[in-house]
């Protein structure tokens, strides 16, 4: 059944701050096999004008996707998460995420579409630092595939 369009525009409360750890960034960089010293060496990061090591561009997804859980698990919305796949992902950066950041995410349902029985949701996560400055916007397209037998 198609999702309720009245959820479009709904914004969820900001998440508790996520503190970005230097070792967590290192672990992520190693997991993607990226030896760029700007992720692990403070001096290398400073040489590029950063106050501390920065995170790879897609690192922030772990934070925004967890925040999007508020949306996908909202019982009123009624999304069947076992049928959800990740369709698109987009990031728009004001600045890179860096060690020591305390980040909060505010999630908003941007669009809901129904296509061939599939429900397609765009969830926008706005990421802010402790000073309230914008860091990055993550837009995640989730596709809930149509149930096999109910169509």
């Amino acid at each position: 059944m198609a999702l309720d369009q009245s959820f479009v525009g709904r914004t969820y409360p900001p998440t508790e701050p996520y503190e970005v750890g230097r070792e967590k960034i290192r672990e992520f960089a190693e997991a993607i096999g990226d030896p760029n010293p700007v992720y692990t060496d403070t001096e290398a990061a400073k040489a590029l004008g950063h106050p501390d090591v920065i995170a790879p561009p897609t690192f922030v997804f772990a934070i925004t996707f967890k925040a999007a859980g508020q949306v996908v698990e909202d019982p009123q919305l009624g999304l069947d998460y076992s049928r959800v796949v990740h369709g698109d992902q987009k990031f728009t950066y004001t600045r890179p995420v860096r060690a020591g950041d305390r980040l909060t995410v505010t999630s908003t349902i941007e669009t809901i579409k129904s296509l061939a029985g599939n429900d397609i949701l765009d969830v926008r996560g706005e990421v802010y630092d402790e000073a309230g400055e914008h860091v990055v916007t993550a837009v995640t397209k989730l596709v809930a595939r149509a149930a096999d037998e109910e169509a």
Binding site: K24, E27, F28, E30, A31, I32, G33, D34, N36, V38, Y39, L48, G49, H50, I54, P56, P57, T58, F61, A62, F65, K66, V85, H86, G87, D88, Q89, K90, F91, T92, Y93, R95, P96, V139
Partner: protein, 144 residues
């Protein structure tokens, strides 16, 4: 942020150095831990097949992270990436052997966007086992 490439030195069609990224089951276990995405389709063959997949598949976000490396290695400073988006079109299937899979990524400058902001659009192509695994894979990069 200090990109190593000058805006004036690139033109539409400039190719970024292509790279190949290997991915094995061990890579996926490590990525699951680092990213917090423990969906069993990325490490449990039995589960993956039960939900209709050919085998264990790589996290889409892992593939997205690897494709970004072609851009960040080229630009010099990852902070030069102003925007980055992809569509997940086909999964990267990762067999349980010593070889695993390979993600091949190439990129080229598709447009010079803004002479003032010195931004270009880079279009990326990512394939694995001959299949295109990302669509609409684009980054906006601020050059020196």
């Amino acid at each position: 942020m200090t990109a190593k490439i000058s805006y004036d030195d690139v033109e539409v069609g400039t190719e970024l150095p292509a790279q190949s990224f290997p991915v094995t089951r061990a890579t996926l276990v490590r990525y699951a831990g680092a990213s917090g995405d423990f969906n069993p389709i990325h490490w449990n063959e039995k589960f993956a097949k039960e939900v209709g997949l050919p085998d264990v598949i790589a996290h889409g976000m892992f593939t997205m992270a690897e494709a970004a490396r072609v851009v960040t290695d080229w630009a010099g400073d990852p902070a030069a990436v102003a925007e980055y988006g992809v569509r997940f079109t086909k999964p990267v299937v990762v067999p349980n052997d010593d070889q695993g899979a390979v993600i091949e990524v190439s990129g080229k400058v598709a447009a010079k966007l803004d002479d003032e902001a010195r931004t270009v659009r880079v279009d990326l192509t990512a394939t694995s086992a001959g299949q295109k695994v990302l669509g609409m894979s684009r980054a906006v990069v601020r050059l020196a």
